[in-house]
Homo-oligomer: 201 residues x 2
């Protein structure tokens, strides 16, 4: 095929794609806050949530992040953004459940930080709320699904909420607008590569 | 089961989990720059890349981002971070291929921005390079896989590179350390929800 034929074929394919894209954009006319779920066993769930936080802050929106589990970790993105007056971060300060090994104190810590989450989910000034790794709190029974579902369902119409963590509860998946399953194809860590500062944490 | 039994069972499970986690951490003793691929048809690929950018900047590392395709879009995260002296963003300024519909000018624009990418991939001062949506450049034949593979393979040992976009070339997947397939379970946009400022772009 000649270069010119290739160019012509490309133009036709792109015209077709454009009409397809335009039709989809025109059909998407409902505008409100979204509920997003980033789940699955692969790398990128919390990272994508922080990417969205950066994005929302970039427009000057107010953002609330609640970190279940990883709160005691070094966290480059939190450090980078925390000077921003529009960002509030609440941390469950116990660390990983496999370090504390104490169900009672974990439950208590979880419920305290959930109070912060509830407040954010009820505040119409907060444009985006991230409930980072909350799925494990449901799995361990530290929080019950009805409490979480009700708070999310009753949030202000313009507010977006992001849930991250493996094994998202089926009721959260059902009520979400957008769900991405981050599947691990491979992971350097499993093959002997050390978690890297500024990249993995 | 009594509360106390539950607590005891929890402690045992967490002890077991901790020894598992500790063993994995101990086994992961190789330290160098990583190659990450975020691919698949779901939401979160570019977002996870920008989350990693924020993270790396949080530690004061230098970061280079090359945006293929989406360069003309409003981009909250770029706006949020671009004041950072450690961030350099190179943009393929043509916009979506379905808008330009011109294979020759797209190819030209792509090769120009690839020069920026090559420079970053050769610079040991750059800790993280993001090649955002480069997969489409390979698919359309604007770039060839050998050029890209060689530049990545020869990058400085401490440099991490992130590739995003659907249908990552199998050779890139093969050479990567960590690959996540972001699978769309559902997407609000497909169900009539408008892309949202500060969240989707």
């Amino acid at each position: 095929m000649s270069e010119q034929d290739r160019n012509t074929r490309h133009k036709k394919a792109m015209e077709k794609l454009k009409s397809h894209v335009d039709a989809k954009v025109a059909a998407a006319d409902e505008e409100r806050g979204l509920m997003l779920v980033f789940t699955g066993n692969g790398k990128g769930k919390t990272t994508a949530a922080w990417g969205t936080v950066t994005r929302a802050l970039g427009y000057g929106y107010r953002v609330g992040v609640v970190q279940f589990i990883k709160g005691l970790w070094e966290c480059g993105e939190r450090d980078r953004l925390e000077a921003d007056d529009n960002l509030e971060v609440a941390i469950m300060a116990t660390g990983f459940t496999w370090d504390t090994q104490n169900r009672e104190s974990d439950t208590q810590a979880c419920r305290e930080v959930w109070q912060e989450a509830s407040r954010m989910l009820a505040d119409p000034e907060v444009y985006l709320v991230v409930l980072d790794e909350i799925t494990y709190m449901l799995k361990f029974g530290y929080l019950d699904i009805d409490t979480v579902r009700t708070a999310i369902a009753n949030r202000p119409a313009e507010q977006t909420v992001i849930i991250t963590g493996r094994n998202a509860h089926r009721e959260l998946v059902a009520m979400a607008d957008t769900v991405t399953e981050m599947q691990e194809v491979k992971h350097g860590f499993t093959n002997g590569l050390k978690a890297r500062r500024g990249i993995d944490f």
